[in-house]
Amino acid sequence: MSILSTRKADKIDSLAEGGTSLAMDALRRTFRSPVAILGLVIVGLFVILAIISPFIAPKDPYRPYPELKSELTPSNIPGPMPGFLLGSDQNGYDFFSRLLVGAQQTLFVGVFATLIGVAIGMIIGGLAGAFGGWVDSVLMRLTDIMLSIPSLLLAISIAALLPGSQWTVIIAVAMIGVPVFARLLRGAMMAQRSSDHVLAATALGVKRKTIVFRHMLPNSIGPVIVQATLTLATAIIDAAALSFLGLGDSDWRRAEWGLMLGNAQELLSVKPSLAFFPAIAIIIVALGFTLLGESMRESLDPKNRR
């Protein structure tokens, strides 16, 4: 589409809707692409599943069933049977129900790991960007140090130091994101510092606090939101990796895809589907967040405005 006709369309849109913010505009542009819609559908289904899975799970995921348990031997794990769509897991629990409920636990880990990472990263990056000077230098060297450690190694070290619980996984994974978010926000705010509208606000005598919170921060947050979406995908994978390495949750009963995958590793020859389904679920969800995040990034990039 030519620039002219898009402008016209935008104008008509904006006339019809009254006030549309730049963010809304970007969102509208995002969902013109089929890739973004696919990402959104995957993420949407995943979130809905996470919310309703405890109610739609056919069986209790946290209880062994005698009809499964009776057939369970070290070399044989029962496959599908009436009432148990995917059969048993290694403990005589209903595998299908656990897989459904796993969405909730996995989303929980992913979202909290990302949120904590964003929060700490934004505090560091925001301080660096708002004050500049030596504050910036000190904080950025700190994030450089964090960035210089390979991300999974960093998570493993933290997970190894803390007692094995779900929050350990969350915090360990969150730390991977901290330096990334810090740098991102700092960079965006640095660009804002020298922007015309911040200069104009300064020329109006607007207070520094107002300049930071009203003029710099809201204009710098876009890339952070996009990165957070992308990080949700890697957070879920990283959490799974920690669980797989046995550094995750010590509660083996918890239905979380990473944990289920980790616990299934010795049983690959007995019942491969125990590893296969959680793995596929993780891949699809990670793909969904990545597609969504990437298309958001593209639509927010002024060079890609169509």
């Binding site: 006030g19 505009d25 509208h197 104009a200 020329a203 109006l204 005598g205 607007v206 003029h215």
Partner: protein
């Protein structure tokens, strides 16, 4: 007493590893209350830096500001950050060149006006909103009641510049600095914005410093005109004197390089040869000498002083002879 008195202002940019660069060098001028003063020059002549120095907007590190800037008796250059912030927007307003990038894209224009009113005039959010709508009406923004809740990207270039003017004049400053306010606009809008500016300024008795490279803008608006070259003022005159009898070869060249409607068809324009990068240092001689048609040996070796000459100030060894000038009517 003059409202603004700039004395011997100099700005030197210093960066590690590079030679210090003198952007503004001994600039002096004054602005009376209600007066409109032009600051004219091409890119790199130091006119914008002069305005930023007056507002105290140059970065603390890297830019060394010397001389003095007195605003109704107060020295601005030695004020603390906080004192300066209290004056900016209230006593001194500024309109920038690019109206789109000078507005915050993520908040409504209403909020950008009320923010200043709340800050400097102690208004409540509600009072400020009413006042903001009035201001928008006064700068000729159609349908201000609705526009007030719109975002900058929903406005046209001319409307944005009107908003910026409304913001700058919100607290009725005594001095407004307009840094190329019409450069980013197309010609028809330029004229509207200029007449709006001059109307508002004379209505409120605000002094105006008009920074521009466009002599047409100066011709329509300014009482006094300062022509800058290479960081120094090379000629200062009243508007009519400048246009009728420009004496400095640079001013003369600028006027001659403008297309004239009354010139015979096909007559070539006379550009000023070379570019700013050809300058020599003022310490050596006249910075304009390499590009000057009148340059003689003395121009290359002896820096000219700014001297009073026939009702104007002139920094030139070989000024253009009187009677050899362009008429204002041509513009």
């Amino acid at each position: 007493m003059a409202l603004l008195d700039v004395r011997d202002l100099s700005v030197v940019f210093k960066r590690k590893g590079t030679r210090p660069f003198t952007a503004v060098d001994g600039v002096s001028f004054s602005v009376e209350p209600g007066q409109t003063v032009g600051l004219v020059g091409e890119s790199g002549s130091g006119k914008s830096v002069t305005s930023l120095a007056i507002m105290g907007l140059l970065p603390k590190r890297g830019a060394e500001v010397g001389g003095s800037v007195t605003f109704s008796g107060t020295e601005l250059l030695t004020l603390s950050d906080k004192q300066l912030r209290d004056r900016r927007g209230r006593d001194l307003g500024m309109v920038f060149q690019d109206p789109l990038s000078s507005l915050n894209p993520v908040i409504t224009i209403g909020l950008q006006i009320t923010e200043v009113l709340e800050r400097h005039r102690g208004m409540s959010r509600k009072e400020a909103r009413v006042e903001a709508a009035e201001l928008l009406d006064r700068v000729g923004l159609p349908d201000p009641g609705r526009r007030i809740d719109e975002y900058p990207h929903q406005l046209s270039g001319g409307m944005r510049q009107r908003v910026l003017i409304a913001i700058a004049l919100a607290c009725r400053p005594k001095l407004l600095i307009a840094d190329e306010p019409t450069t980013a606009l197309d010609v028809t809008i330029q004229a509207q914005i200029l007449s709006l500016l001059s109307e508002l300024v004379s209505e409120t008795d605000t002094a105006l410093i008009m920074i521009t490279h466009d002599l047409g803008v100066v011709a329509g608006l300014c009482d006094d005109v300062n022509v800058m070259y290479g960081g120094r003022i090379v000629e200062r005159a009243q508007r009519h004197d400048l246009f009728d009898r420009s004496r400095h070869p640079y001013t003369h060249g600028l006027l001659q390089s403008i297309p004239r409607l009354d010139a015979p068809r096909g007559e070539p324009l006379t550009p000023i040869r070379g570019s700013v990068s050809d300058n020599i240092e003022w310490e050596q001689g006249c910075a304009f000498a390499p590009r000057c048609p009148n340059a003689t040996d003395v121009c290359w070796s002896d820096p000219p002083e700014l001297k009073a000459d026939d009702g104007r100030m002139l920094r030139c060894h070989n000024p253009v002879a009187i009677g050899d000038a362009v008429t204002e009517g041509a513009l």
